[in-house]
Symmetry: C2
Subunit: 284 residues, 2 copies
């Protein structure tokens, strides 16, 4: 079996970013950390740490850290740990901005490492074995995972009144949609083009500002930079006050799911329950 002190040293180097900081965290000398990493790399026959500022894990290194975290999580069921176990989970930015944190704060004695990605891609992190659970639009299930439907997140096409007066004076039609600047979360975000295609009845290519922040998206709409599909819970107050206006009657609903590793079902139980409960309060 592995020497888990060695795996802990590896996790500490990646977590803190340097051999010195890892040594300080574990209360040993930097040469001791260096030796452990070297021994582990020799045993695995692979480089595990990219020595840079900060240190990063290679793919092999990341796999070992994931394994160490899983074992720590299982161990925490048996005996109190001196270091709380780390739960790495993938969440969509819009879920984080609207309902995930209350769920996480219901748990105690664990640390969360949130990987923030587009809801259409969060499950890839799970498939690659880099997280123990994911909030994702993909119903899956990813192999070895359980999946639970959480409800639908409603997206509303929104813009500021000044933006609408300028770009949609003749209504929200196809020509206007192609000319007006849109917002896009990142290269993978297709929500705006999906909605525009629904309005036009054919695929549409938009020109868009790219802003990878849920709140930044709403702020950009408020400041008149562009129109975008915003999660209803994030714009409810702005729609009520008139600071933002819905571009059309048709919302887009995205069903969300909680997928988590079946082999960690017991230790992940409280988290799964908290996620379901918090989602129920906000999603449709």
């Amino acid at each position: 079996m592995f020497d888990y002190a060695t795996l802990e040293a590896l996790a500490a180097v990646i977590d803190t970013g340097s051999f010195d900081a890892a040594a300080a965290r574990l209360g040993v000398t930097p040469p001791a950390i260096s030796q452990r990493i070297k021994a582990l790399e020799e045993r695995m026959g692979a480089v595990l740490v990219i020595r840079a500022q900060p240190c990063r894990a290679t793919e092999d290194g990341a796999r070992l850290i994931t394994h160490q975290r899983e074992v720590a999580l299982l161990e925490a069921q048996l005996a109190p740990a001196d270091m709380p176990p780390v739960l790495r989970i993938a969440v969509s930015a819009d879920s984080l901005a609207t309902w995930v944190l209350p769920a996480l704060s219901a748990l105690d004695g664990v640390l969360f490492d949130l990987v923030i990605d587009d809801q259409d891609h969060a499950h890839h992190w799970l498939a690659r074995g880099e997280v123990v659970g994911a909030i994702t639009a993909d119903p899956g299930p990813v192999m070895g995972c359980d999946t639970v439907a959480l409800g639908r997140m409603r997206y509303i096409a929104t813009a500021s009144p000044a933006f609408i007066a300028r770009h949609f004076a003749n209504g929200v039609n196809c020509a206007a949609l192609q000319a007006a600047p849109a917002l896009q979360f990142n290269a993978k975000d297709r929500l705006q083009e999906d909605w525009a295609a629904m309005i036009c009845g054919r695929p549409v290519s938009l020109r868009a500002h790219r802003i990878g922040s849920s709140e930044g998206f709403v702020d950009a709409a408020l400041h008149g930079l562009g129109w975008g599909m915003n999660p209803e819970p994030l714009v409810r107050a702005h729609l009520a006050s008139g600071a933002l206006v819905a571009l059309g009657p048709a919302p887009l609903d995205v069903p969300l799911h909680w997928q988590s590793l079946r082999r960690l079902k017991t230790p992940l139980g409280p988290l799964s329950a908290a996620v379901r409960k918090a989602a129920k309060a906000v999603l449709l």
Copy 2:
């Protein structure tokens, strides 16, 4: 010289993520896009596009796109463009959450592509030639760039009253800081450890939740997940209402700078002026 229609095809493939969508955007057939990319790859003697879902640029491809965008920006000074030029700039998440968007909304006829990174690392994007400007803690200047001081962003160590009652009942001392869960933006974020080191008078290793969102950071503090260094403009109202409490009298001030490519000084002039003005309204 380059055939710029070819470079435009490359930019469209990366921007839209697929050959089909790029063809739709440029009003040509997918085989025409495919041919242009192939011709460009043959001329450069390098793969420029990683054919995946979505398509991604190789390093060589990204360099060409940056060049194409620069030329488009310079061209826009001479004649109206059918496609607005794209300004790719690196911003720190905390700046985006507090003062950057009003600056961007003051400009017209350009699209922004925001690269969001830690303020201590935003300038690396500039040094690698991937952005035309960066809001960064690094005074630089990066080679070939002009730098302007924008003012200081004030960070305050904050937590919820319930969190303080539980973890800092005997005051904010070194032992309590090492035991209480902290928040960390990402592996590169050292603000919490810098502040803790200031309190303890020696380097401190913290255990932290990792949450890469400025607003998520504030929300996590409000929900009692951990304590963290939050930008003063984002927590001012919470400190006034008592929903969050400052952990100690000592804030941390981070001076911010605007660095931008000197060779694009003229076309970037209006953006540089807007950034300076918006920063002045919020930073110290």
